[in-house]
């Protein structure tokens, strides 16, 4: 079945039930006052009866105290605390296996029946019990409520457009049953920006038309200056935005500063469900602080010691600057791996409207020639100090699916072969400057459109320009804006664009392979086919290349596959097609992410992987287990 390890061990992980002698619980010093004053119940009555006991080879049990300072570029980035906190119903562990976290256990039958069991006496951050009622409220009063969700439940809860049957078994057990397997369900719950299938019902009922008398609710709507109660409910019910102080949470830290501000403080959640082997309730660190600063200044501020843990806003090119501040400001810069298939990749638009270009871009030998006329080694040495990977756009070596041949196929710098391929296509005519001519007499000038956000792209494209010239191809860079780039590529005005490579370069066979197939309008190499898939055949254009059709078939086959072997085979075939067909031309990958870490901070891995999903940036390493060594 699915690679979901330890899901059935939930009971034993929570040492109590297994009879393992548990250390006495230790009250966090920062809460002692409140407990004494009677404002908070003592720790025994705050944590669940079966708390999640944190153990691990690479985890050192720590001590309470300190505050964790971070920087973000915009006020709405306080949602990153939800990402870093990473308390999920189920979450990825360091091996990218999905394990229960908020949940005590998950039972999966046939890949379609999911039974979720909560921890007994688990509580929200305001002390109210977290029970199956919170799941029921979401399903009945939010997801399928005609007023709040006129567009129906979110996509990850639908299989072939059909919602699950939802049952409340008892106070701590709920069940979702689909007619067919739903491989997207658990990954969506474990996501960096997760699918929330529960809500703090006791709080949100105060804003729901079904639970509140109309006049009282209208008064609230008026006071909040909203259009109606739906808009009011919508604005208070955003767990991911993390900006509503009154919304209870299950995360390790809870927002304590009311927006707007330039400095947000997050206090420990006294009801958090995880404890360490010594009986200390996590998180170790009492408060996290996010200072909002211009994103351009983050590197400068990090280098002057204003952060304890920072990766967002830092780029590889800041590495030397940061390194210089290490001694003066008592931090260390660590180099983490990134997990994108490519740091940047060229996307030939197979849906270009210009028929001459479209024909050329659809010619696989043309794409191969373009790739072989790129000197990836030079790019690596010039822009990345030789520390990156000279690879095509495919999975990274630390993915279980990796095969070395995908990295290099059609990606070795060989101008002779590239020129030969171009000649064979029939692009033999050249103009006075040695630039090849298109069949209709125009010069072969490729305009690469960029989102204009990354200055490294300009440097790399300059190097590509030089080597393509030697193959008789002229390259122009056209910086636009992100939305403009998308719109132009969807319209077919773009011939080629540059963007990141595969989103998930550390994919395993349980990750969805949909980004390899034409499934989204945002895919710059075949946006119109993506639209066609998204609209179930109503919009866009029908896929008319055999290999791309095969990718779609394989993608469909993956979601109904029942064994791990089948899934692996499907993944491998899809990656093989990509490596051979060069639907995107990867330029460089494995660019390192500098991470600034305070020297006193413990349990931060020396060399981690910095990725959005799966990974949730630091979330995978559970910042609630980080702690400060006292000097």
């Amino acid at each position: 079945m699915m690679r979901v390890r330890g899901l059935f061990l939930g009971v034993c992980i929570a040492g109590f039930a297994c009879g393992v002698s548990a250390a006495p619980l230790i009250e966090p010093p920062s809460l002692v006052e409140q407990v004494k004053a009677g404002k908070l119940p003592p720790i025994e009555r705050r944590i669940p009866l079966e708390p999640s006991r944190v153990e691990g080879d690479n985890l050192k049990p720590g001590q309470y105290g300190g505050s964790l300072r971070m920087l973000m570029g915009r006020a709405k980035d306080i949602r990153m605390m939800i990402v870093y906190g990473y308390a999920r119903l189920v979450g990825y562990d360091r091996h990218y296996d999905i394990v229960p976290d908020l949940l005590k256990s998950v039972k999966v039958e046939d890949g379609r029946i999911f039974t979720l069991t909560l921890r007994k006496a688990h509580k929200w951050s305001d002390g109210h019990p977290f029970t199956s009622e919170d799941f029921r409220y979401y399903w009945e009063d939010v997801a399928t409520d005609g007023v709040i969700s006129p567009y129906g439940p979110p996509k990850a809860l639908l299989v072939d457009g059909k919602p699950p049957v939802f049952d409340v078994i008892d106070e701590t057990t709920v069940r979702y049953t689909w007619p067919k397997p739903n491989p997207f369900f658990l990954p969506a719950l474990a996501g960096a920006s997760p699918l929330y299938i529960y809500r703090p019902a006791h709080y949100l009922k105060k804003f729901h038309g079904r639970y509140m008398p109309a006049d009282e609710l209208n008064a609230k709507v008026k006071k909040a200056r909203k259009r109606d109660w739906r808009a009011l409910h919508f604005s208070v019910d955003r767990q991911y935005r993390n900006d509503n102080l009154d919304l209870p949470t299950l995360q390790p830290w809870k927002t304590a500063t009311r927006p707007p501000s330039d400095r947000y403080i997050f206090k420990r959640n006294p009801y958090y469900h995880r404890i360490d082997v010594n009986g200390r309730q996590l998180p170790y660190i009492d408060e996290s602080i996010i200072n909002i600063s211009s994103s351009k200044l983050i590197a400068a501020k990090a280098g002057s010691g204003e952060v304890d843990l920072q990766a967002r806003g830092l780029q590889f090119k800041n590495y030397t600057f940061l390194k210089r501040g290490e001694k003066r400001n008592n931090f260390t810069v660590r180099r983490w791996l990134t997990a994108k298939g490519s740091q940047m990749a060229l996307y030939p638009n197979l849906n270009a409207t210009d028929s001459v270009w479209r024909k050329l871009m659809r010619n696989v030998n043309f794409r191969r020639a373009l790739s072989m006329a790129i000197n990836r080694h030079e790019i690596n040495e010039v822009v990345y100090f030789g520390l990156a990977l000279e690879s095509n756009n495919t999975v990274l070596p630390n993915s279980p699916l990796f095969e070395p041949s995908w990295q290099k196929r059609w990606a070795e710098f060989d101008l002779k072969k590239a020129n030969q391929l171009l000649d064979d296509i029939g692009l033999t005519e050249r103009d006075g400057q040695g630039i090849r001519l298109l069949p209709d007499g125009r010069p072969l000038e490729i305009i690469v459109e960029t989102a204009g956000e990354d200055s490294d792209q300009a440097d790399v494209l300059q190097l590509v320009t030089d080597s393509w010239r030697k193959a008789g191809i002229k390259l122009f860079t056209k910086p636009t804006r992100r939305e403009v780039l998308r719109r132009r590529s969807i319209a077919g005005s773009t011939v080629m664009s540059i963007w990141f490579g595969l989103e998930n370069g550390v994919a395993s066979n349980t990750s969805s392979p949909e980004e390899l197939a034409p499934t989204r309008d945002g895919q710059l190499n075949w946006p119109k086919w993506g639209i066609n898939f998204q609209t179930s055949g109503q919009g866009g254009e029908v896929v008319d290349i055999a290999e791309a059709k095969r990718l779609l078939e394989l993608n469909a086959a993956w979601s109904v596959a029942t064994t791990a072997e089948q899934r692996t085979l499907i993944w491998k075939e899809m990656l093989e097609i990509h490596a051979d067909q060069m639907f995107s031309i990867g330029l460089i990958s494995g660019v390192l992410q500098p991470v600034v870490v305070n020297n006193a901070l413990r349990n931060v891995p020396l060399r981690g992987v910095y990725n959005w999903d799966p990974g949730a940036h630091f979330g995978l390493y559970r910042p609630d287990t980080f702690w400060y060594e006292k000097p």
Partner: protein, 332 residues
């Protein structure tokens, strides 16, 4: 004088109306709206956005209405003191702006004072000691100030302020004072941070002001009444302050009108670079994410500042210089 005031006020109202219209059009000019930008961001992070949900959100934010309708809602709100709603912050604009408005005023006011304090003595010195080493030296420094890009100067000063004085980079105060009640330490911290942006924003204004004052004063110094006064035995210092300097003050006051917008717009870029808690960076990010009511309110505020600045300088000039008043009367 009264009719003069009345006419000026009437023009102000009309200009503000035209400006509000222009602002709204310009904010709407880039393709798409707040939601398009927002959705792009979600997509960039690998999230899949349901098209049906997008439509729902668009209706929630009132972005499905026609442009003229949106404009009317906004302007009628403005007249009632309601600045609209910020999409990005999910709060009414007035709450979002909060402290920023008056911190920008402090910053801009300090800059204007700085410009005057520095420009005045230097300008007078340059004029009275024309073509001396001092004049050449100060002119040289002034031109460098005029030619250096603000943001570059900002970054250099920030770096050295951090390395030498330990001032935290960016912002108007140490991070620990943010959102704290005002204390002596907090004020000191603000002062320790304030000088960098003030110097940076002020340099080009100062340089320009020195040149203008010098030129004006030079003109006056050649006039016959100066020769007469000197012949009557007035001491040089007294003479300078009593007559030509007063005449040369005109551009100083006329400049209030043009200096204000110059300082305010200059401070947008510098504030963004230095991440100051003023209106500048917020205006920039609001424009980028097309958070239209927030951006619109800021722009209206800036326009208001300019229009009022112009008005004040006109009135002051009219009060100060009878020639302006009388000429106004004669033309009628």
């Amino acid at each position: 004088m009264l009719t003069y005031l009345f006419r000026r006020l009437a023009t102000m109202v009309v200009s503000m109306l035209v400006i509000s219209f222009l602002i709204f059009i310009i904010i709407q000019l880039p393709p798409g709206d707040y939601l398009t930008t927002y959705i792009e961001e979600l997509k960039a992070q690998g999230e899949v956005v349901d098209p049906k949900k997008v439509e729902f959100l668009r209706a929630q934010y009132g972005l499905d209405k026609s442009m003229s309708e949106q404009y009317f809602v906004w302007v009628s709100g403005l007249l009632q003191g309601d600045f609209g709603y910020s999409f990005e912050f999910n709060l009414p604009v007035s709450e979002v702006v909060g402290d920023r408005l008056w911190l920008s005023m402090v910053l801009n006011f300090s800059t204007v004072i700085f410009v005057y304090l520095v420009a005045f003595p230097i300008g007078v010195y340059s004029a009275t000691h024309q073509y001396s080493w001092g004049d050449h030296g100060l002119t040289f420094i002034g031109f460098i100030g005029l030619a250096t890009p603000n943001f570059l100067l900002a970054l250099i000063l920030l770096y050295f302020a951090n390395v030498w004085f330990g001032t935290s980079i960016g912002g108007l105060m140490e991070p620990r004072f943010v959102d704290q009640p005002w204390t002596y330490d907090k004020v000191m911290s603000v002062l320790a941070h304030l000088w960098v942006p003030v110097v940076v924003i002020g340099t080009s204004g100062t340089a320009g002001m020195i040149r203008r004052l010098r030129a004006n004063l030079l003109d006056e110094l050649q006039k016959q009444y100066v020769v007469t006064a000197r012949a009557k035995g007035l001491s040089e210092g007294r003479l300078l302050i009593k007559y030509p300097m007063r005449m040369a003050l005109n551009p100083f006051i006329a400049d209030i009108g043009s200096l204000l917008p110059q300082v305010v717009s200059g401070s947008v870029i510098v504030s963004a670079v230095m991440s100051l808690p003023t209106t500048g960076p917020m205006l920039l990010s609001a424009l980028q994410s097309q958070d239209m009511y927030l951006a619109g309110s800021f722009l209206i505020f800036l326009a208001m500042l300019t229009v009022v600045g112009m008005f004040v300088s006109d009135v002051l000039l009219a009060l100060l210089d009878p020639r302006i008043r009388l000429e106004g009367g004669l033309r009628k």
